[in-house]
């Protein structure tokens, strides 16, 4: 896809989209609370959060389908306050596809070109081009009611992409598909993004979609952005308990700060003293109770590895869950807390799986993440 002139001249660090203190109220409900966010040109950004967190409202504000209660939004440097929804050129892919049921596949895609006043002579060649790109040219004359969910998804994408926009808005586009097809479409979407150079603004509540496709993830909860970062960063360094629990297979435990010295903290965790780097600085003082996260795949049974360093804790094997390549151990700690350890089945020593048996576990203190308190 050729670069738009405006895109070619935009400086690399100038954002394509910016939200500046954007709020949205529906009656008494504050759906969005002073959102600040910048999206770079060509970026694949995933906005993730539980239902009702405001992620879809953010998308609808950008498309002009809702008006912000306060704040400012810009698209390619233009203040959107004065630009009507129909003039924004922010095509959207809808969760239920929103294809026109009384039109054929071809007419649906053509509709998008007519909407932006494409010269009649170019219509059919451009529709053909995008039907081909999405592998649905054989369905051109089909009625929408006669094609499958996966095919509808492709028509919806063709209808949006045929406008060759700078930004594509996607509202949980894969949610209506079955799991197997969803994974396949993830790969295709990622490829489409790389090939087209179009900015993807992707709203989802599936962690796996955000982690596998996005350049940056925006985690939202209750109308606020909780954390923004690259997928690995979000997964490995969650900022709060919410992110730790929502984004990964994290164990969140309570620990007491016994001592604070320079940039080192001594924590008491299940009665064991653990020394960690203080990543929270002055947010934390001696005597505080702090949430600590350790990812399930970073916890190992001691017998399984011969590392002696690290945090060593005693527990009881309470249950296991075999899922092919991995086995999850549920380990009950001295105070009754149950931790999850995800182990690669191939690396597991035999004879460990006796339920109720004592099990010593360990993890590297570097894999412990101190969480900021919420609110």
């Amino acid at each position: 896809m050729e670069l738009k002139e405006s895109q070619a001249h935009t400086q690399v660090d100038a954002p394509l989209v910016s939200f500046e203190g954007v709020s949205k109220r529906f009656g008494n409900v504050e759906a969005l609370k002073r959102i600040d966010l910048e999206v770079l040109p060509g970026e694949f950004i995933a906005v993730i959060g539980p239902s009702g967190c405001g992620k879809t409202t953010l998308l609808r504000l950008l498309a002009g389908l809702e008006e912000p209660s306060s704040g400012r939004m810009t698209l390619a440097g233009t203040d959107l306050a004065t630009v009507a929804a129909a003039k924004r050129r922010t095509p959207m892919v809808w969760q239920n596809y929103a294809l026109f049921p009384f039109m054929t596949v071809r007419q649906n895609v053509e509709f998008a070109l007519k909407a932006i006043k494409t010269p009649t002579g170019e219509l059919s060649s451009r529709v053909d081009e995008y039907l081909r790109k999405l592998g649905i040219e054989h369905l051109a004359e089909n009625e929408i009611a006669t094609i499958s969910g996966g095919q509808k998804q492709r028509v919806a994408l063709a209808r949006a992409l045929v406008q060759e926009p700078e930004i594509l808005l996607l509202d949980e586009p894969l949610s209506a598909l079955d799991a197997h097809l969803r994974v396949r479409m993830q790969t295709e979407l990622k490829q489409m993004h790389l090939q087209s150079g179009i900015t993807f603004f992707y709203v989802t509540h599936y962690q796996s979609e955000a982690l596998s496709m996005a350049d940056r993830i925006v985690v939202m909860n209750a109308g606020e952005i909780i954390q923004i970062g690259a997928p690995r960063e979000i997964y490995r360094k969650p900022r709060t308990r919410f992110v730790a629990e929502f984004m990964g297979a994290n164990n969140v435990m309570k620990a007491q700060v016994v001592d604070k010295r320079a940039d080192q903290l001594t924590l008491s965790l299940f009665g064991v003293q653990v020394s960690v780097q203080n990543s929270l600085g002055s947010l934390i003082e001696a005597g505080d109770i702090v949430d600590v996260a350790v990812s399930a795949d970073r916890i190992h049974p001691v017998a399984d590895r011969h590392a002696s360093a690290g945090v060593r804790l005693a527990g009881k094997l309470q249950g296991t869950n075999f899922s092919g390549s991995t086995i999850t151990y549920f380990i009950e700690m001295t105070d009754g807390t149950v931790l999850r350890a995800e182990l690669l089945a191939a690396q597991l020593t035999e004879g460990l799986e006796v339920l109720g048996s004592d099990l010593e576990i360990y993890w590297d203190p570097k894999d412990m993440v101190l969480l900021e308190s919420e609110g």
């Binding site: 129909a86 929103a98 026109f100 009611a145 499958s148």
Partner: protein, 284 residues
């Protein structure tokens, strides 16, 4: 199609019920139709031969023909006004989320259940204040209220079935609200609107009580028929009755055909099946 096997006795019972039901409804009307072609002054058996003379009488009676033309013009206008009024009401009921909406809907579709005599009397007193009684305008207004109830009932379902995302998708792609209405909304509600128009016409076409109260010398066909009946009874009335019945049937049939029209060249059930097949084949 239901493929369950049924015993002979069940089948006979079903057919018998069908005959009894339809017989109860249509035998009297069938009698009217038959006698409209009977070459005898008296509507009684035995059959005295086939004739079209009652229809010729009907066509050459200037009063009857004038009232027929009145009925048609009234019905067309009622169809139009009831469609506009009823569609607006249906749109409100379908889109406006408001707790008392169901109660309001109930009131809107109530007029057909109020005894027509009472409705007609109320309209007569009201229109008297406006000095429009005794005109076809009054009849049109009276019928519009009655017929709009049927329009609301049909159109509400159409509006509820509309996916609001489709209109938003059209605006999102770049069409104005107005263009969106014509390109996206109108094609989806057009069949319902056409059917509603015919139903409203049918309601007006054979309505008698309101028309009798509100019309003056210039009257509609059912009122004219009543006038004929109270004087000298000619079998011509059977011919007029058959004609009225035929027109009503045509209007209602047209409405039913439109409402049950298959979507995208396929009946709804077929679409479901094709869709399921495709799903299991292409993604399974």
């Amino acid at each position: 199609m239901i493929n369950r096997r049924v015993s002979i006795s069940t089948r006979i019972a079903r057919i018998a019920m069908l005959i009894v039901g339809f017989g109860f409804l249509y035998v009297p009307i069938l009698g009217l139709v038959v006698f409209s072609f009977n070459d005898s002054r008296f509507p009684s058996l035995p059959w005295s031969g086939f004739t079209l003379r009652w229809y010729r009488d009907f066509a050459s009676n200037p009063d009857i023909v004038a009232s027929l033309v009145n009925s048609l013009t009234v019905a067309v206008q009622v169809g139009f006004f009831a469609l506009v009024l009823g569609s607006l009401g249906a749109y409100l009921v379908a889109r406006w989320e408001f707790k008392a909406m169901n109660a309001l809907l109930g009131f809107w579709i109530m007029p057909p259940t109020v005894p027509t005599l009472i409705l007609a009397l109320a309209l007569l007193m009201y229109f008297n204040q406006l000095h429009i009684t005794g005109t076809l305008t009054a009849v049109i207004l009276g019928h519009t209220g009655l017929a709009s109830a049927f329009v609301v009932a049909v159109m509400r379902l159409r509006f509820v079935a509309l996916d609001p995302n489709l209109e938003e998708a059209s605006v999102n792609l770049g069409f104005s609200r107005w263009a969106t209405f014509w390109r996206v909304t109108a094609p989806q509600i057009a069949p319902g609107a056409a059917a509603s128009f015919f139903i409203a016409m049918a309601v007006s076409w054979d309505e008698f009580v309101i028309a009798w109260f509100l019309s003056g010398f210039d009257t509609t066909l059912p009122v004219q028929m009543f006038g004929v009946l109270s004087g000298y009874v000619s079998p011509m009335i059977n011919a007029v009755g058959t004609f009225v019945f035929a027109v009503t049937t045509l209007l209602v049939l047209a409405a039913l055909l439109i409402l049950n029209r298959p979507v995208g060249g396929k009946k709804p059930l077929e679409v479901e099946r094709v869709h399921a097949d495709e799903l299991s084949r292409k993604e399974g």
